[in-house]
Symmetry: C2
Subunit: 181 residues, 2 copies
DNA sequence: GGCATCATGTAAATCGTTACATGATTGC
DNA sequence: GCAATCATGTAACGATTTACATGATGCC
């Protein structure tokens, strides 16, 4: 099983929201806050073809347009794989190295899994963030003074604060969603 | 002029703090909060050789150790290039797509540039973040309600809050540094 | 008729990941 | 003597970036 890139999941998630062409997807990346994905044709078209080769999406369909747009739509296997990705248990390393991927997952939860799974996601995220923030604070207490450069120290503090901000967000998000049920 | 990767600058910066071997550098990445850099030999040793080929560092020196450690130290051209990277004007795209690289730069400012340049850096960063946060808030006001998924909306808010946290950090960092002079 | 946009593609280069591999040295 | 660690490397692979390229369509 080949690894699946963040970009591929992002494309799959957008296609699950509504079928569209590579060009449409490029525009999404270019004009919305998802812009930290590249909108270059050199990344998107090959990624779409990889998804198609894997049997997760198909580009055969309403192709007979005036413009020869190739509208992709997800297949059942694609939806299955996507949901599997969405509900995977959150590990320490995900929080440490792939927080952006976790946020991408979170954004796509609605509409693909039940609300309960979303709350589980937030619980796991909160636990992971909380534990890591504590670890960072401990490290700072022990070795922070030993960082020669003051800007180095400040940069470290920025890292901690950034994780704390995510933690606070996760907490308030859970409260907001819980209030509804 | 070939592009220089984040990893290469990180290695160069650490070598400017003190000369060390590839193995030492790997340990730094493995055990400190710089761990989001990979500590795999497959990335670090080739990067060191690229830096050496560019004439920025040299590994010739106290090699005749018991263990055949190869201790690298920076050359004048390396220091020049590094400082140039440190003091480059911060553009909108840096804030949007390369905030982590900006924080890396900031961490290495002390010891390589005068304090005044550090304050300039923070001013530019603050301005860039402030402008982008405003842009995001405006986008949210206009289109936020149109995001079908509630988790999508929350994810977006998380993005805004994350940039706000960075902005707050930049402001307090500047105040702290200004108080000293 | 000409220009901007629509729409898709390919090719080269490069960096990083993963996995494999090897020898020396220290400590028990 | 043996295991763990020290220390460096290589080789295959894959994804993304950058640049180049092409044709169709709508609009003025």
């Amino acid at each position: 099983m080949a690894n699946v890139s963040r970009l591929e999941y992002a494309l799959l998630g957008l296609l699950l929201q509504n079928p569209q062409s590579g060009y449409d997807l490029r525009k999404v990346f270019a004009m919305t806050p998802m812009r930290h994905f590249s909108d270059s044709p050199g990344s998107i078209y090959p990624a779409l073809r990889r998804l198609e080769a894997r049997g997760w999406i198909t580009g055969k369909g309403e192709q007979a347009n005036a413009r020869k747009r190739n509208v992709y739509r997800p297949l059942a296997a694609g939806k299955r794989a996507f949901v599997e990705w969405l509900v995977g248990t959150i590990m320490r390393d995900d929080v440490l190295y792939r927080l952006d991927e976790l946020m991408l997952r979170f954004a796509f939860l609605d509409g693909n899994v039940e609300r309960e799974k979303t709350l589980t996601f937030l619980d796991e995220l909160e636990a992971g963030l909380d534990s890591y923030v504590k670890e960072l604070r401990l490290f700072y207490k022990k070795f922070g003074a030993g960082i020669g450069q003051e800007t180095g120290q400040l940069a470290f503090e920025s890292g901690i604060q950034s994780y704390e901000a995510s933690l606070n967000w996760a907490r308030s998000a859970r409260k907001r969603l819980e209030r509804q049920s």
